[in-house]
Subunit: 341 residues, 4 copies
């Protein structure tokens, strides 16, 4: 930690700070600058108490942490890229770019199976579909619940696709884990730490969406909750952050691809559907994501978006999806990766 | 709903939109403007399917909702201000401005009882203190749990203060409700709808903090989850939103006071401690909140902030708190309210 | 400056950093921590080259400045509050809260004189009104230009009110200074440094609005451009920042009142009209601003807002303004200030 | 325009709104819905007064514009992509992706010529370099001014590269236009409309950076100022927006590539250097930009970034730049474009 003192404070006030630093387990190291005195507090910031509370002292101007706060998710802790095995033979973080596709919500057997069949044929390896839906209003469709999970399982049986679906409640952790191959934690729950722990404990791979206003560091620390609960199978998923812009639903932050690769060994997944909220931008954003090195894409696909029970504006049709898969191929090759054959 | 068509579309494309609008339960009303055709879709937007999915159609430029999406929390539904009774004889939303004060985290019996005694003496009617703490990092202090709840109960017994503490997990809803007088839902869980429902069902009053990047409308709709689950005792609490500014931890949005008063009948509480993240700004922001008409204040107070186990920088000392209570008095009077005697 | 090195770098890489630090005029001071080595670079950050370019080096993790970058506007440089004299006998930054009121745009003699007369009668000391208007679209009304300035001068002559109007272009600096008592720099030009310099050089007091996405530090530094160009008469004016919220036009950040008071000796003015974009919130926000200690208020007033040529939604009527002045009185007293008699 | 009335207003209040709508030049069209009455106001929103001022009326809930506010920059106005000719034989908006590269600031003849020679050799067609620099602090290097322009001209003569440099002040419009091939308007001046007009009038192509917190619509309207002043040669340049994230200097919004292509006929340029503020992310972001269909890239390159006089952290070395040009090639091909040979 670096503690910056205010200019022209008394010797007594300085000594009090030094004493407190020692009391909290750090070794102080004083540097007298031109205007201000700066104290380097040497010690492990993750095991000792934080010194940030010192900013409450009148003689202290600011306290700046030096260490990174995340450990297990960090690239420093694990040099190689992690590869996450999903279902029988899908690997996320390898050469192949894994495509997860399907409707926003599971609505009916026909809707789900039609979509599953079509996306499998176009090259998707995983089927997405919400059975439990977090909705801004209590009056909106909340998902089919367990019935939705059963339909997902049926689709897996019929198509061989692995399943990813959202977990909304600790109480459903066991239930959802029974049916799904990957547990999705949504943006609104990205700092619902109890849910993260419950998801981690199922042992299933966890896809952690970035919260609407989550800094990269906070996202990495939320991921740390998964690994610290003995589950090494973590996927980060960027789905757009909330900004002042209103043209798109969110601002998809594609710089997260190189940043997560730099800071962490875990794979990075891009969700352009939530990211833009507009089907007409999804294809373009997928090209960018693949070029930047994303390990997987999570794409909302619906046989008839205009009649979707949720988020119709951002779901692509089966035809658009097939075209998208074709058009991504040269970008995957340019990035030294490959699209599913 | 208002559906705006793109310029120069074919008759056939227009008819298809009209047909879909009827199919989804609305009555279309066509207006031909200078450049664009606009369709008013008449019907109850809260009972019919939303037409927003029409934005996925190529001939549609945009879809604009007309109705407000919240009902039970709205001022239209309930003209008078709601008054929430807490504990034996505290009322939030009445003439008296209710002060909720106490440490960020419950740390020890001595810390809590010292604080409780001091804030009661200065005029607080409620004691705040976190027993379950949501922490950005898994390596930070997570709260004393049930032991913390027991200490809060002890402090209530000793001082007569009502208790407010945060609920982090559905699994603890019964437990927390057993000890507390008001259940707090934190900013990170403001759209954890399962938690909102669990809190509502305990029957205890619920204080709902605004999420870090929650629009007013989303906050009102999250509140709607409480009232729609048969719990009329809801308090909205502004605690700062996340912006680009880094001088303060968050940007405390005091315009929420008149806005919530205008849109809703539920009381509005201001939390300047989380809002600014700096004890030196807390007093000023309290004055502003009171002048604007806040019904209650939630203030972090600690006997020794520099050694607090969490968020030391934003907790005021016992002395500062007593001074603050004195200094607020004339502002409460100017606002036609009163501070506790 | 504090330079944090990456973990496990070679001795040679460390030496290269030390050499560069010395070359750029600083004295390095090495601290070896648990995981990382940290270098304190002692020297005046405002006179030497910045070390921030070192972050481009592969062995450097981050560079953190220690000093504040602003000097002349800082409270450290000038302990007492600055009082800015405007016109014959108005002082901003003294005991009286100065009210600047008037229409968004100068539209006609009748509109301006009616407003001027009414606001003077209600207690305003200054008349605002845009003659040159920055408009988002080139097809919107751009102001009456010099004709507007002449009308402002006429209103001053008739009412005795001092004038504040916006300067949009360096080329108009002399012209505007000839007519106005205070030069306003708008939010969109808050970092148009050439305009700031031109305004400073007229010698007239300058009111500097905060840019839509300007951090406090950047705002203070923009103010520094005024004082560094030999004009000590600077007023900071908060007018709302841009956030994700859409209910209000901007988010009025009232925490700027205590923050500017803490960091600077210059007066702070609050503009609730731009800040909220809604006349119905203006009165409430004024109360908050006064309670927090604002030195002046800038309020848009129009005889018939619905027919205003610009920004009608945020202008209050003459009647609302008179009521507002009355209602602010007890809050000014509570704050130890006084409203004009 | 769509005018939504509040529920349960009197007939008289409704009639007053209808009268005002007619007075302002629109034809009202009443639709009675379930809860609210909605009025479609038919007329050209760009030639009549705006009805948005009606939101100031107590009986009006909201006013929603229907038309787009921009004309000349819109895709509707000009179906084909505009191609902007620069210098002798460079075309932006054609098949070839144009690379503009060079230092943040022009510092010396040697620095500039070394860079120019190297970037030309690697395939750049244009040389960037700031002669007039907008700096957050008045104590930072403000650029070499005309001396810098002369050095740019010399570099053009020697290498054949076209020049792009920033215009900061209306007073320099003629001077800068004399030396440069493209005039750059920086992010801080993106809504300095007087500067936009001055730049337009020089007749040189204008590259308009997006402001730090500018919505897409506002950016298009700022561009409209160029075209409405008889200069058809406009380039939009995304350089990152300001968000809550602190890991990167700005959040580079790559969705602007497909959005500008959809809304406008003008070329779109991406500036990843300002966009991320970190040289280590520039290469990745360039790949994304090219994959998404950007027409040109603006890249900061410096022979020795650590000693750059401004923004060292975001400038790439000559070697990194050459590698970048090589690595972009397959992505350009995948996008159906080509890199310079």
């Amino acid at each position: 930690m670096i503690v910056v003192l205010k200019p022209k404070i008394s010797k007594k006030d300085e000594v009090a700070v030094l004493k407190e630093i020692r009391k909290l387990g750090y070794k102080p190291h004083v540097m007298r600058g031109v205007e201000r005195t700066v104290i380097g507090a040497i010690g492990d910031e993750r095991t000792h108490s934080t010194l940030e509370t010192l900013t409450a002292w009148p003689q202290v101007e600011k306290v700046m942490p030096v260490q990174k706060r995340y450990k297990l998710v960090s690239r420093e802790a694990h040099k190689a890229n992690s590869r996450i095995k999903v279902g029988k033979d899908t690997v996320i973080g390898g050469e192949e770019i894994v495509i997860m596709a399907g409707p926003c919500s599971v609505e009916s057997e026909q809707q789900l199976l039609t979509t599953a069949e079509a996306v499998r044929k176009a090259g998707a390896k995983m089927l997405r579909g919400g059975a439990f839906k977090p909705r801004t209003s209590p009056y909106e469709f909340q998902g089919l619940g367990e019935k939705g999970l059963k339909l997902l399982a049926k689709a897996r049986k019929q198509t061989g696709l692995a399943i990813i679906t959202e977990l909304l409640s600790q109480d459903h952790a066991e239930l959802v884990a029974e049916y799904t191959d990957v547990i999705q934690i949504g943006a609104r729950n990205a700092q619902n730490f109890q849910l993260l722990i419950a998801a981690a404990k199922t042992g299933k791979p966890v896809l952690l969406k970035r919260g609407l206003s989550m800094r990269i560091e906070e996202w990495l620390l939320a991921g740390e909750y998964i690994l610290a609960n003995d589950n090494p199978n973590l996927l980060f998923c960027e789905r757009g952050i909330r900004t002042f812009e209103t043209y798109t639903r969110n601002t998809l932050d594609l710089s997260t691809v190189p940043i997560i690769k730099q800071e962490s060994h875990c794979p990075i997944v891009i969700d352009p559907s939530q990211g833009c909220g507009r089907a007409d931008l999804v294809l373009s954003m997928c090209k960018g994501a693949v070029a930047l090195g994303a390990d997987a894409l999570l794409i909302e696909v619906h046989p008839n978006p205009a009649e979707a029970w949720s988020d119709g504006a951002q779901q692509v049709t089966l035809e658009m999806f097939a075209r998208l898969m074709d058009e991504l191929r040269p970008f995957a090759e340019a990035a030294g990766r490959r699209m599913p054959s």
